[in-house]
């Protein structure tokens, strides 16, 4: 699974990596550019169900960052 994210807080990159570990997924690639906003690209490997859960949690992080939820 790959994710290209625009984040507000670069610390969320660490949070996402920790979540992947928690869900028994491997973070196989990260590319981060932290300027006024943070753009981050991730690649994850793991069981389908875990990746689905990881994606939902990433969506929640992005949503909280965007202050929409």
């Amino acid at each position: 699974m790959t994710c290209d994210l625009t984040l507000r807080d670069v610390r969320s990159v660490a949070r996402i990596v920790n979540l992947a570990h928690r869900f028994n997924c491997r973070t196989t690639q990260i590319a981060v550019r932290a300027e006024a906003t943070v753009t981050a690209s991730f690649a994850f490997a793991g069981p389908d169900a875990a990746l689905l859960r990881l994606r939902a949690q990433i969506d929640r992080i992005v949503s909280y960052e965007a202050n929409a939820t």
Partner: protein, 555 residues
């Protein structure tokens, strides 16, 4: 002004009247600023109680609860309360002192990387490194805590930043523009209503989302359809008092009618709830014949546990209003016959036979709920008493009941009641607690005494960590490992030592009179109930199973 004064001014601008906290080295400048300010600080006796009290304040008022603590251990003691607020979507702002900027990273005295520690248990946290950003950071914290799905936010401020001087004006200018709130889709509403119209056995489940202020609309929605409905533990009080179609709490220790009706449903209307495992048991066998309409403000809840057929993404009040309006466009379907059938699936709550005339906890709670005022606030701790209370309570609104539902944090109930009492000074507040959880927060009796908070504590003392004991009996071959509390202290003497009035029930014959005296008493009081040690909570759906596996008594 100083940074600390800017914090207090920002709290005032946010409408804060009361905060709960405990001082310490790094946060001393804030306490100095509070010394001569209108924001009222309530000194608790452990930082964990500050977070739980703030939660009780928020849960029963709809306002943001505020707690504060010093760096290091003070801040880490808040963590459980922050996670509790995260799990139950409670708006909370925690302000923590941090060691001086120059000491950060040196393993300084009482230093902890609180932002890293609390990242998974907050919606957002922030380390304020510039005194000019204090006001904006506090304002942002309140906005994030309230907005959308509510939750906790932590603001960590180094000691030198609290002491630094600011003109205070820069801070208030930098306001964050919030993202657009989701507005429920008209097409989804039409789809949902079409499914309701064609359903034969619809059941509504209301969840904690109702606490944001949509109980009135929910009651209107349930009444216009006449459909059976159930609540998660976070939504007790959502149903209209006396509504015959309300089947009670569902889930592991939910009422039989609620669980059976949900299992037989052909349509679930899930409103502001998240299909917790204590509700679903085994998701792939949960309500397996039902289509699912799922309404929530947090889109990441959709499909997390149960795959919905229709999603209604938005604020629950807006969603209910849209559903009601759409239903009213044409003939409104009624489900009275199905509701009557669902009501008959229940019957009386099963209870354990209590041997040798021992005091039954369920008997005490039945009498207590009959005796307390209808509009009373009830908080509970975690364990058997929590489930017995949830099965029996009929709070007047969702803001009249507070319990640590998602996290199940023992030690919550008593400090949460203190917070609730500060938020609702004219409302009687009862904390129903067990002997295990109460001993996690006993020192808060001093808080009760100092502020003369009229919280009534009902202590269900079965000399056991009862819920764990029950599971050991049922699922671990009665090997009772570390659950026996037969050496409990004399709780009545402890309460009196703190200057709290105390009553005791030791036998069923005394219960009614003692409860009446306790309820009628003025000021804070403890009611100690020496209950039978092996009474179990029934019914019970064992973890990971369904209502088909429901137990109503020991095998």
């Amino acid at each position: 002004m100083t940074g600390a004064q800017a914090v207090v001014e920002a709290l005032e601008r946010a409408g804060v009247e009361t905060i709960f906290g405990y001082p310490g080295g790094a946060i001393m400048p804030l306490y100095d600023a509070l010394y001569e300010h209108r924001v009222r600080h309530i000194l608790v006796r452990h930082e964990a109680a500050a977070a739980f009290a703030a939660s009780g304040y928020a849960r029963t008022s709809g306002r943001v609860g505020v707690c504060c603590a010093t760096s290091g251990p003070g801040a880490t003691n808040l963590v459980t309360g922050l996670l509790d607020a995260m799990m139950d979507s409670v708006p909370l702002v925690a302000i923590t002192g941090q060691v001086r900027s120059e000491l950060m990273g040196t393993d300084g005295f009482q230093e902890a990387d609180v932002c890293a520690i609390t990242q998974p248990v907050t919606k957002r946290n922030m380390l304020v490194t510039d005194v000019n950003h204090i006001g904006a950071s506090i304002a942002e914290a309140f906005a994030v805590a309230r907005r959308g799905r509510p939750g906790p936010v932590l603001v960590d401020i180094p000691n030198d930043v609290l002491k630094a001087r600011t003109d205070g004006n820069v801070a208030s200018e930098r306001r964050e523009a919030g993202g657009a709130q989701a507005r429920v889709s008209d097409a989804a509403v039409r789809d949902a209503v079409a499914r309701i119209r064609s359903a034969r056995r619809p059941v509504a489940i209301i969840g904690g989302g109702v606490r944001a202020g949509s109980a009135g609309l929910y009651r209107m929605f349930a009444a216009m359809l006449g459909l059976p409905h159930a609540a998660t533990i976070n939504a007790l009080g959502a149903a209209a008092p006396g509504d015959p179609n309300y089947l009670g709490m569902l889930g592991m220790h939910g009422l039989k009618a609620a669980n059976k009706a949900v299992q037989r449903a052909d349509l679930l209307i899930a409103l502001g709830m998240r299909f917790d495992d204590r509700v679903t048991g085994k998701p792939d066998r949960f309500a397996r014949d039902a289509a699912v309409i799922h309404a929530d403000i947090d889109a990441t809840e959709f499909g997390k546990i149960v795959a919905p057929d229709v999603t209604l993404h938005g604020d629950l009040a807006d969603t209910l209003r849209a559903l009601i309006d759409e239903l009213a466009r044409e003939h409104v379907p009624r489900f009275d016959d199905w509701a009557a059938e669902a009501r008959l699936m229940g019957g009386a709550l099963p209870s354990d036979r209590v041997e040798n005339d021992g005091l039954s906890a369920t008997g005490v709670l039945d009498q207590l709920f009959a005796a307390i005022p209808d509009d009373a606030i009830v908080t509970t701790d975690v364990g058997q008493h929590q489930m017995w209370a949830a099965q029996r309570a009929r709070p007047a609104s969702p803001r009249r009941y507070a319990t640590s539902a998602g996290l199940g944090a023992m030690g919550f109930g008593f400090p949460a009641a203190i917070g609730a009492a500060f938020a609702n000074p004219a409302v009687p507040v009862y904390a129903i607690v067990g002997d295990g959880g109460f001993q996690m927060c006993l020192p808060e009796l001093a808080t009760l005494r100092r502020y003369d908070v009229p919280v009534k504590i009902v202590l269900i003392d079965n000399q056991n960590l009862g819920m764990v004991r029950q599971w050991q009996e049922l699922f671990f071959s009665a090997r009772y490992s570390a659950t026996n509390l037969a050496d409990n202290p004399d709780f009545v003497a402890i309460a009196r030592a703190y200057g709290i009035d105390a009553h005791a029930i030791t036998a069923p014959a005394h219960a009614a009179d003692t409860i009446a005296r306790f309820v009628a008493s003025r000021g804070p009081a403890l009611l100690h109930c020496a209950c039978h040690p092996t009474e179990n909570v029934w019914p019970m759906i064992p973890a990971g199973m369904t209502v088909d596996d429901l137990m109503e008594a020991r095998a």
